[in-house]
Symmetry: D2
Subunit: 304 residues, 4 copies
């Protein structure tokens, strides 16, 4: 139950079977930092190229293909005051031809105030919104484990192994489960957002660098197919694909399997329960793979 303090010296733009930066044991915690989506650190200096440079990978002792890795997000804290993002909706989230007449690559700056728990625009916009002060809600945009058969996949996208899911439910206090594909699992993390709307409709959250603490665990011999998670009130499963319909199908099938595997429901019971009580969140509708989340209230589970 060691707490490791790890300072990254390099980053990865792909999630794959790269050389581990640290070996840790189930039960261990890690305190580390992440740079923002463009590779800027806590000083705002660009220290590595984008997209979404990853801290890690961390090798979890004893993790083998067919296990499930548990990652508890203990703490997610922006470690600088500057955040940035795109100013408007992305062309693919509005009706074709209804594209906002905005500079494509323009960036707006946000001021992050961790004491007040707010973010606000660095420069006020036109009269009606002012500096648009919003509540701080830090989340991890991109994290996951090395995928199967030696793949190394861009941190722009996502899949069964996690990756750039950009779901604003990945906040402090949440536990996430990943299928293990390679020995040691090889866990990566990065792409912190001080805040993100549903769907990451602008194509960014409020992008910033983080100090992060996480704790790992291992479910030996427990297989999973897609990322799973739980928070105080819900269990959830994640599908990453296009179109959104397929992401829903992936998340729903994974929930169906989890209910049978974890709570001994029969297929008929799992179907019935899901059919009337399931909830869905939109993770992102911007990245190469979109993300949908299937949720079930814990109080509805047997023993819940």
């Amino acid at each position: 139950m060691t707490t490791h303090h790890f300072t990254p010296s390099h980053y990865h733009n792909t999630i794959g079977s790269h050389r581990p930066v640290l070996r840790i044991a189930p039960g261990d915690s890690v305190v580390t930092t992440t740079v923002d989506a463009r590779g800027q650190d806590q000083s705002g200096l660009k220290v590595t190229p984008g997209p979404n440079p990853m801290t890690g990978p961390f090798f979890i002792e004893g993790a083998e293909p067919g296990d499930t890795l548990m990652v508890h997000l203990d703490r997610l804290t922006p470690n600088r005051a500057m955040g940035w993002g795109y100013p408007g909706l992305a062309p693919n989230v509005v009706e074709p031809g209804d594209v906002p007449a905005l500079p494509k690559k323009a960036t707006i700056l946000w001021r992050i105030d961790t004491t007040a728990g707010t973010i606000s625009l660095e420069e006020p916009v036109g009269g009606r919104l002012g500096r648009l002060t919003l509540p701080l809600k830090p989340m991890l945009g991109c994290f996951g484990v090395a995928p199967e058969i030696g793949q190394a996949i861009s941190t722009a996208t996502s899949g069964e192994y996690g990756g750039n899911m950009d779901y604003n439910g990945f906040i402090e206090g949440v536990t996430v489960y990943f299928p293990v594909f390679v020995p040691g699992a090889l866990f990566f993390l990065g792409d912190g957002h001080a805040l993100q709307g549903d769907g990451e409709m602008s194509g960014t959250g409020v992008e910033t660098s983080f100090e992060v603490q996480f704790t790992v665990g291992l479910h030996k011999g427990v297989a999973s197919g897609w990322p799973r998670g739980e928070n105080a009130t819900h269990i959830f499963t994640v599908g990453n694909s296009r179109p959104l319909d397929q992401a829903v199908q992936q998340a729903s099938s994974e929930m169906l399997r989890w209910l049978q595997q974890g709570w001994n429901l029969t297929p008929e019971e799992a179907n019935l329960l899901m059919g009337y009580t399931v909830e869905y969140d939109l993770g992102n509708m911007f990245d190469p793979a979109y993300t949908m989340v299937c949720k079930l209230a814990k109080k509805l589970l047997p023993g819940g």
Copy 2:
């Protein structure tokens, strides 16, 4: 400001320019009843064929193409104790080939207890779920106005005119806005659900008959493109299409227009606000057209 009591003598399986059953004025309220999706009334008797028989249409005096009709859902009360639904997930919401081995057309019965505010299975299922008691949350599955150019469209589907949106946010206390396409608007309603999960993933809610009270209003000369709504905390817009991606695009474009039209935001302001604060709900992913809802917290609006 009359309150009309209307008892339907016939129903419609299409939403179109049918002969009005009652003429009402803006500000008027109507107390009426709806039968369930299969045409069964408060006694459980089948009085008309499905799908989704509609009560109405109601002619709203003064409504003209280019106006927006306001409908406030004053009260939605199941008027019988029996509800029914499908027992499992629909084939299209799970991964292809991962189809539940359940009888396709089987029906399960639910007992609706409006005093206790619960629904529960008429017959307990296997050991782990028992009678699965859930909170009552009545909603309208299918309602809307006559579409353009003389169309009459099946109540199985939905579009700009509303229809079978099956969104569990259409509950008591919500105000809904529809574009007006024909003189009098011609408002239809039906398909009450005592409860429905996100996405109507089983292909039904808990289907039952309702007593309904609604109040209408008219925004003369205010055009809208898709259904809009508001509840205590949010304004929202609705897109109805396949795949879900397109329903998101329709709802998002409509929100972009509404923010400029209703709150005088510039295109840049509307884009920026939506890009970081918008929320999405999954209405249904079962009907011929899927439904996605784009929401914005009222407190974020100028003057909110």
Copy 3:
């Protein structure tokens, strides 16, 4: 085996259970005319509003729900020299944000030369394309039968009943089969294109008015689910939906059914044959419902 000559006096913008303009018997032929998508006749005069005004409906004696209507396209002849269309690709057929910087509603004119069998631009464009002379290939964009449960559906879209499929394989000599939903079938036709690229990617073909001759037949007690057809070399089935994936699924499922129904293949044989020999065409990717066509070479069929 009568040949009727019918001159339309009015047109329909929906396909539905409208009053028949003529009663004909199986085996009969009809010679009639169609106006273009905007309602312009052989003189170029606008005689009725768009979209896609339909000639008909024709009542086929003896046709009952559950039968299949056969329509042979005997002759499709543009009856004027002027055709029109949109100048560029539609916004939804290119990558989002990659929208052509062209006037949205601009129209270009084409000259149709039925003697030479060509169409060419009325005004030459920039140096490299000149008048862009292309081979004449007349096709019907929108035709079909009244849909079920009293619906009347805009001629902008399509479904099981046919409609605005905009498939450039619907040319002279082709036989098309439609499911019958109402007594008399009620056949409509219109929206002639002197030429259309795959997918109707500009949003139009070369739109013009036609003289048409067609012959009807009836397969009593033979049910079909979606439009089917055959030409000299292939049988084919049509799916109309969004996204294209679903249109492929509809067309493929219909072909699977037809092979078992029409050629007594077992499910295993139909699956095997389709799995290695099926071909697909893109009908349209512009209308509210997209169209995909599943084809099988006749020589591969038993007895073929």
Copy 4:
């Protein structure tokens, strides 16, 4: 202009920046072999694991990011008599719930007769199809170049770099163009099909091992975004994504760029030409990314 004879000693299940097996110069040809999708060689022996083991990569001297690699498929010859495939349609190509009741992983065997130019079933199926003899039409299912930023991507899928496109137009005599992302381009090839239906609807072609000859060329400083190609009659572009709609958008946008880049058409001319003359083929609708091909007849091109 050397012709290299290369015998592979190992294979790759990802397309990435792996160590080159041979360095060749623009203008050189290579004669080599490929194993089938499961790693079986010309003797039918499994020599390497699936999916789709790749021969290569070949380093092309002088190729740099921003160039375009040309690969001419000189000769594609099955080098054994045995082919295999799945017996029926895949669950995702028919309507949900309409899944063929066939063994999921069953394999059927085909006999390849290169002299007669036919393939036929090893064992006859039920009475009506017999041994189902079809014309031999060898094609490459999976080939491409190393993708950007050090990725290594499973040969099950495809992207801008090519990969598992499973398009039955990639036959002998065709020239294919790939964007170059890394020095030397790093060209891989494999997954030969003796025949494949449109869309690879069974999930396989007739899978077999090949002897292949190809010739490479290099277009220095000519950038491309997606695979391009040409055959005797057409130029074409390839999009790889889900849903099919997006693959169409990618292929169409790439064609729009190519027409301007390669034939000096203005955007207006390219739009107009494509809008009325473009054709589409369905590559595959089975792999993680689907493939659509946008084609234009060479005779329509300036100077064509």
